[in-house]
């Protein structure tokens, strides 16, 4: 087996571990925002690593895979950000243990300014 195949397999394995942790986080986290955070950060990194590992194994596809990685890096956090913001404005409560709500603070200061 060539060395790049082993390297690619290891990177793919790390990526799938991150994906598993993301799924576990969606299952275990207490409220919507924490779940969304787990489902975005971990899966973005996991998907990028998995794709990169495949790209190293089959190096003739690395161009397409870099384009896909760029798409995922652009779309996944932005869509998640929009969803979380909408949920916050809709009034979905935070979990009891949370210590800060910066968006609410920002809104209240904005209202005072107006």
């Amino acid at each position: 087996m060539e060395w790049y195949r082993i390297l690619g397999s290891i990177i793919t394995l790390i990526g799938s571990i991150f994906l598993f942790l993301g799924a576990l986080g969606v299952f275990r986290m207490p409220d919507l925002y924490n779940r969304m955070q787990a489902g975005t950060k971990a899966t973005t990194l996991g998907t990028i690593l998995t794709l990169l590992g495949i790209g190293i194994c089959h190096y003739e596809w690395i161009g397409q895979i870099l384009v896909i990685i760029m798409f995922i890096a652009l779309t996944n956090p932005i869509s998640s950000h929009a969803l979380a913001r909408a949920a916050h404005f809709k009034g979905i409560p935070l979990t009891k243990g949370s210590v800060a709500d910066k968006l609410k603070e920002k809104e209240s200061t904005e209202v005072e300014v107006d």
């Binding site: 798409f71 652009l74 932005i78 950000h81 929009a82 913001r85 404005f89």
Partner: protein
């Protein structure tokens, strides 16, 4: 009770009809009839790598023209039925402005998605995809702008121009087949040279027609979305 009984009877009768169909179909192990001809002669006849494209654009070109017409009719009907009333000012519900991240990100993404749509329909004869898929991708870019920026409006004049000119050129290419190659050749792709098999400038007029179809479908779906969205804000 009787209201539930009649639908139940209808569904049960449909079930038996479908059961008859399901039990009578044997899986086929070879292409037969017209599909075999297309598979054997499609490449040498039309020079298109993607046989689905060859069927949609050339072998069944008239169907596609009719389909684009149906889409146009549906879009026109929607625009007619949902025509704008006078703008009500201040309905009481204020829209929250989108965040800076969302605006910047969508502005970055829209050109890329539009370019991807153009790539899909230009390469329709070489790889999976074509006018309808590319048009849908372009409409998705417009959809993203609608969702991300509530004050975004499409330029109706440009859209109408693109739509009508692509429709006119589509029909003109069809008529050119009649003029150059004689009767029975409406929408024939061989009025241009077939070129080298597998390159982007090959397969006669297929890339040209699919580009026109893609522009037309994209603008039509975007106008349908725009009309359905209306003056909600």
């Amino acid at each position: 009770m009787i209201k539930r009984l009649i639908p139940l009877l209808l569904v049960i009768s449909l079930f038996f009809i479908l059961l008859k169909v399901a039990t009578n179909v044997a899986p086929n192990y070879d292409l037969t009839g017209v599909a075999k001809t297309y598979a054997e002669q499609g490449a040498s006849d039309l020079g298109a790598m993607n046989l689905v494209t060859a069927i949609v654009v050339t072998y069944r070109g008239l169907d596609t023209l009719g389909e684009v017409t149906v889409l146009f009719m549906a879009g026109t009907g929607i625009a007619l039925l949902l025509r704008r009333k006078k703008k009500k000012n201040d309905s009481g519900i204020k829209n929250r402005a989108a965040s800076e991240i969302l605006k910047t990100g969508s502005k970055l993404l829209v050109p890329i998605i539009t370019m991807f749509g153009a790539y899909i329909f230009i390469n329709g004869h070489l790889s999976p995809g074509g006018g309808f898929q590319g048009g849908a991708a372009i409409a998705s870019a417009v959809m993203l702008m609608f969702l991300a920026d509530s004050s975004f409006k499409i330029n109706h004049k440009v859209f109408v121009l693109i739509e009508s000119f692509s429709g006119i050129f589509y029909v003109l290419i069809g008529v050119l087949g009649l003029v150059i190659l004689g009767a029975d050749n409406f929408l024939d792709n061989r009025i241009l040279p077939l070129g080298t098999f597998g390159t982007i400038l090959s397969a006669g007029t297929i890339p040209l027609i699919y580009t026109l179809v893609g522009l037309k479908v994209g603008t039509e779906l975007a106008s349908i979305l725009d009309n359905m969205k209306g003056e909600l804000e």
